[in-house]
Amino acid sequence: MKLSKKTITNILAPLVTFLLLFGFWEWAVSHYQLPKWLLPAPSGIIQSMVVNFNDFWPHILITFETVLIGFLIAVPVGILLATLITSNKIISAALSPFVIFLVTTPLVTLIPIMMLFMGFGQKVRIIGVVIQAFSIVNMNTVTGILNVPIIRHELMQTMGSNKFQSLRHMIYPTAIVDIFTGVRLSAIFATTACISAEYVAGNHGLGSQIIKYSQFLKTTESFACIFYVTIIGLFMYGFVAFLQKKVIYWKI
């Protein structure tokens, strides 16, 4: 495979930045002889990621599961709700303020109350992820649907199409770019929401481990967990980017 100049730049430039950043970090830690509990060196963190993998693995799995299940519920719920909101003025007036309410209320404040009803289980955290992630899909889908040009609606009208045909064949494809913006953001929000929920609730998942390790000043392990969270976040982002490429096969 021959790589174009642009691809090489796109891979090389961030890689060099990454190496420089970590190199500086490594150098600073040893040069200023920072204690491990304050700031561990990247090499130590990566070593911990490998050595303690067996301890981390169940938590990685549970965090990943919570993020993925929450995300997979949030996306269809968000799109469906956006469809309802944009199709009817009364539904829009009735529901829109509550979507905004859910977006603006920090999730962490809701988790302890939700725990009163549902305990410490994974269910609470999944619901937390859904609340945080669906609203952003919803808002972007609403924008996308409202941005469909009038001329497109007129086209469907001239064909005598019904509401369902319009949605499936015209409105969703036209709004797909905005919808995907929401989905991509919600993939990020899902990871953030999951970690915040784990901070507060129970002792499962990477979030709870980060709290646990830092309480014992095991900063290296704490960082190792943070790096795994980053990897989950990157995976989610990449997953959506891949999906977007597959779904939007035409040029906009």
């Binding site: 001329i151 469907m156 001239t158 096969y249 906009i252």
Partner: protein
């Protein structure tokens, strides 16, 4: 105005306003517009921009109801709104092609057939047939973004023809094109009209286009739009080619139309 018995479409005293009196947003757009359109005729509506020409087309084609007046199709009175069942008898061409960019040229035509539930080989055959009419038989599987502006608009015309409508309604079909493409497509459109024998109603703001294409030109006034002039274009079809621009009759008509168009603009007194 009287209804002509043999007219394909008659619009009688069509008025349209948006908004309502109670909230003080009443905007009259059309004021007593009447015309009779014969089968196979090419009618051009010419007028300043924002004068309600497009609104009139939408009422004729059943997208919008009129506020008052009546529309007759083949002698049947449908009142202020052309019913949905009759939409199949119209083909719409939009100003900016309005193609679905996730479908190929042929896919856009098929979409029309699918949505209108026109199934069977005969209809499928019309897809390539109509693309051939607009000269794009070699571009069936090409996506809109790979086509030039003029080609996209030709796909738009083919799409409007694929379900075999009686009437083509064109809302400034060449408004978004550059001058050279525009002139080329004008002659192609003339050719398409000749080949398909459809009744065409077109809105434009270009005087040359109106003369080359039209059998009759209606000049609309500023808002609320009325018909100011109806001018028959008596240049025979055979003479409507690239040489027409220098023919004395063309120049005469152009001067006449320009004069009337200028008159519509001067009606607008500064406030």
């Amino acid at each position: 105005m009287e209804v002509q018995k043999d007219a394909r479409i008659s619009a009688i005293d069509i008025a349209k306003h948006f908004g309502d009196k109670a909230s003080g947003t009443l905007t009259p757009v059309l004021d007593g517009v009447s015309m009779n359109i014969q089968e196979g005729e090419f009618v051009v509506i010419l007028g300043p921009s924002g004068c309600g020409k497009s609104t009139f087309l939408k009422i004729l084609g059943g997208i919008l109801p009129a506020s008052s007046g009546k529309i007759l199709i083949d002698g049947t009175d449908y009142g202020t709104q052309v019913p949905r069942e009759l939409l199949k008898r119209f083909g719409f061409v939009f100003q900016n092609n309005n193609l679905l960019q996730w479908r190929t040229a042929a896919g856009n035509l098929k979409f029309m057939l699918e949505t209108m539930r026109l199934k069977g080989e005969a209809w499928q055959g019309r897809v390539s047939e109509m693309l051939e009419v607009v000269g794009l038989q070699d571009y069936q599987d090409v996506y809109p973004h790979e086509l030039s502006g003029g080609m996209r608009q030709r796909v738009g015309i083919a799409r409007a023809l694929v379900h075999d409508p009686d009437v083509l309604i064109m809302d400034q079909p060449m408004g978004a094109l550059d001058a050279i493409t525009r002139q080329m497509l004008t002659f192609e459109l003339l050719d398409i009209w000749h080949k398909t024998q459809k009744t065409i109603i077109m809105v434009t703001n270009n005087v040359n286009e109106a003369i080359i294409l039209g059998n009759r030109v209606f000049i609309f006034s500023q808002l609320p739009a009325k018909i100011l002039q109806e001018i028959p274009i008596d240049i025979p079809f055979e003479e409507r080619n690239h040489q027409v621009f220098s023919s004395p009759r063309f120049l005469e008509l152009r001067e006449k139309l320009n004069h009337h168009v200028r008159a519509t603009l001067s009606l607008e007194e500064p406030a």
